[in-house]
Amino acid sequence: MSLVLLYLAGLGAVSGRWLARQHLAAKPWLSAGPSLTLPPDGGTELAAKLALGIFLAVVGLLFALLVAAYGMRVPPGSTGIPLDPRLLWLTTGFLGLASLLLHRAGRAARRGAEDEAHATLLAAVAASLVFLGGQGLAWRLIWEAEAGRTADAAGSFFVLITLLHGLHLAGGLAALARIAVGAAWTGSPARLARSIGLCTLYWDALLVIWLVAFGILFRTPWSGLIDVLCRPPA
């Protein structure tokens, strides 16, 4: 759980910095009159960004908890997952590609090249679908090797983490597909660019989360770090 506490401390530091700028030491009973510090303009763009940021902080916590659980459950001598990691490198590649494509689509939309943005978005949807398909295949392979049921639990964690990660991506895909289709007729490149920007942030975050999970599930060199952070002291 130390990892989770560290994560929370990070969030705390960010919110603390923000709070420190909010004049929490002001004496509100002395200062009648319209305040000079207006609340930020409630533009929908900022609100959507903020909402996504908060949601991602919560999603990040979810995965931090899963990693912590992994540390407490999987024995240090675990052999990891009985699966050829090359399959996962491939799927990872597609998720990275989807992310890149989204960045490109965003740039195109900002330039006003709507058709290009539209096409690139569809490509990003396709790449994400390939990623999900690949993860599903890996899922099945592990399941068939019965690794999902062993006492080692690394396989079970693989199933659990890819499942939750995949569901989050699927949710994002629903939003992205709506934008990709809607983009044909909204006719406002600025709005399109904004929506793509939000999706890009979401994809980037899910990519980072996946890379961390991947690293842990295959006990790469940084798994040692997990042992330090998540193993409960006896």
Binding site: A26, P28, W29, A32, P34, V58, M72
Partner: protein
């Protein structure tokens, strides 16, 4: 005091409503059922939560009848008893209290108190409610499922929660976990919305330090909930996989009835960590909104500014942050490193400091106030007393050496009912008596309200005070029947019977409340816009009940903090937040 008189028009570019952004209902269905108006959603949340809460109340009757008069009902055996206490506990904590405070009060009060037209994402807000309703229905379905609801205790500890010895092992536990997962998804949608609304949609002039403490409480509690529920989510998903797919996240190697199960290697303690990482902050998810609401009730009904506003805000934030580092005080008897016990006991006791500050400040607010003993005020004062009471026994239990013998006795049950059962419920009642006039335009009946208050308040003490004593005698918690425990005197049975009779009376008194709620819709005294002469924005709306969009053509402009009561030289004993000068008459 520096007053800068500025016309209500004000030089605020952002203060014109952006009509294009407002959602407009087109039919009866979208206005009252699939509504995106936070006020309607608030009523839906509260109504659903109170309805399911009534189920939990009936369940508490059954528990009490069994404990007070063992064998009275042939249909309650040990298995049914477990199912009843489990559902009672889970419904009360999650589906009633959390939903009422955040989904109910949060939805109604956040936009109105900060001067917004609605939540920032009304559509997501609506989804949040419907997913909550689905979660409740799934939970209710488990009563009718084969084998009945789960009897694992509201803590759902594995391994027993999913083993065949536990009632509801077939469908019950699966439906419970599914329902919790749905609840968390729905709540997260609402929660992100509440936070962003408070951050982004405040009216001009509404700085953070001019927000009523109600908003501070709900806001901080929402942040806590967003950070605490994921732990329960992870725990629930993992247990569901253990149960359905046969993984062994929590399940160690087990031999059941001579048979070795296919589980192996799991750590039950991991679940306890996840559960309490959620479970302890949950106490404050319920308590912080209650703190906030009580502060506003006391200030309004004592016609005095809240004592130590800034300290109150800081204390809310400090309590929220600290509540994430105390969870293992629920696991003293699960076995842990003694240094950890020391650490968690220390952090637990440190939380008492900001909490005590709040209690002192409430008392100092009352000190020499112009106290009006209205029904909301009675409930608010009762809350302070009850919370103090429960907090003090919490100090006992926070110490490892005291907790170990008391753990799993009725002392613990009495403690947590005082602090997170009775106390928040009192605030919910107080809040409803206070804001009902705004919601409906009519007052609740005063005499019925007083009857409801006194029976509930005194009754709660008669129920839970003696329960501490039973706990000290060693009466264990979660026991269907107490037989063969020589150290428990026979008189304990009479006390148990007494408690049960009172519990029946208190439960019945809630019918008075419901009757009042319904009757007053038609027969209540018309309330006008601001019956309590309160300063906060929700009482300054152009219409009562507020219409869709809340503020008519113009957003309010905020000129002062929410506690300008009895200001010397002011024309009346309160100055609304949107009134430019305190010597002027009431703002138009």
């Amino acid at each position: 005091m520096v007053d800068t008189p500025i016309g209500a028009a004000g030089p605020f570019p952002g203060s014109e409503p952006d009509e294009a952004e407002l959602y407009h209902p087109h039919s009866w269905l979208t206005r009252y059922v699939f509504s995106q108006d936070a006020k309607v959603i608030a009523i839906q949340y509260s109504g659903t939560a109170l309805a399911i809460g009534f189920v939990a109340l009936i369940l508490s009757w059954l528990i009490r009848l069994q404990l007070g008069f063992p064998g009275l009902f042939s249909f309650i055996g040990p298995a049914e008893y477990y199912q009843i206490i489990t559902m009672h506990g889970m419904i009360m904590v999650v589906y009633l209290l959390t939903a009422v405070f955040l989904g109910g009060f949060g939805n109604y009060l956040i936009p109105l108190m900060i001067g917004a037209r609605d939540m920032v994402f009304p559509y997501v807000n609506m989804l949040s409610y419907w997913i909550y309703l689905l979660a409740v229905l799934v939970l209710v379905a488990s009563f009718f499922a084969p084998g009945g609801p789960t009897g694992a205790g509201w803590t759902l500890y594995p391994p027993q929660a999913i083993l065949s010895g536990t009632p509801g092992q077939g469908w019950g536990i699966v439906l419970m976990l599914a329902s919790l997962i749905l609840f968390i998804i729905g709540f997260t949608m609402g929660g992100v919305n509440y936070v962003v609304t408070v951050l982004q949609a405040r009216a001009p002039g509404m700085t953070l330090m001019r927000m009523p403490l109600t908003i501070w409480g709900i806001f901080t509690a929402t942040v806590l909930a967003l950070l605490a529920f994921p732990a329960l989510f992870v725990g629930a998903v993992m247990m569901l996989l253990d149960r359905l797919l046969g993984t062994s996240f929590f399940m160690p190697m087990i031999i059941e009835a001579g048979q070795r199960l296919h589980y192996g290697g799991g750590t039950p303690i991991l679940f306890q960590h996840l559960f309490w990482f959620f479970g302890h902050p949950e106490v404050y998810i319920v308590a912080l909104p209650a703190f906030g609401i009580v502060s506003d009730l006391i200030s309004t009904h004592a016609r005095k500014n809240i004592f130590g506003y800034r300290m109150m805000v800081w204390a809310i934030i400090a309590i929220g942050a600290l509540s994430f580092v105390v969870w293992a005080h629920h696991m003293y008897v699960s076995g842990m490193n003694p240094y950890f016990g020391f650490f968690f006991a220390t952090t637990t006791l440190i939380i008492a400091v900001p909490t005590a500050i709040k209690v002192y400040n409430w008392v100092l607010t009352l000190w020499r106030g112009d106290i009006h003993l209205t029904v909301p005020m009675l409930f608010a004062i009762a809350f302070i007393v009850t919370f103090l009471n429960g907090g003090l026994t919490g100090l006992f239990l926070g110490n490892v050496v005291v907790d170990v013998p008391l753990s799993d006795t009725l002392f613990v049950v009495a403690h947590f009912h005082m602090v997170m059962g009775v106390a928040p419920i009192l605030v919910i009642f107080g809040g409803i008596y206070h804001w009902y006039p705004k919601v409906t335009g009519r007052m609740l009946d005063e005499r019925l309200g007083r009857l409801h208050f006194w029976v509930t308040f005194l009754g709660a003490y008669l129920i839970f005070f003696p329960m501490h004593y039973l706990g000290l005698l060693g009466v264990p918690r979660r026991y269907f029947e107490i037989t063969g425990l020589g150290f428990i005197p026979a008189s304990a049975a009479s006390l148990n019977a007494f408690i049960s009779v009172v519990a029946l009376v208190v439960g019945a008194a809630q019918v008075v409340f419901v009757v009042n709620l319904i009757r007053s819709l038609w027969h209540g005294v018309p309330a006008g816009g601001n019956p309590w002469h309160a300063t906060t924005l929700e009482w300054q709306t152009p219409d009562t009940p507020p219409r869709h969009g809340n503020w008519g053509a113009r957003l309010p402009v905020v000129y002062r903090w929410p506690y300008d009561y009895s200001v010397p030289g002011a024309a009346e004993d309160f100055v609304p937040q949107n009134q430019p000068s305190h010597t002027a008459g009431v703002a138009p």
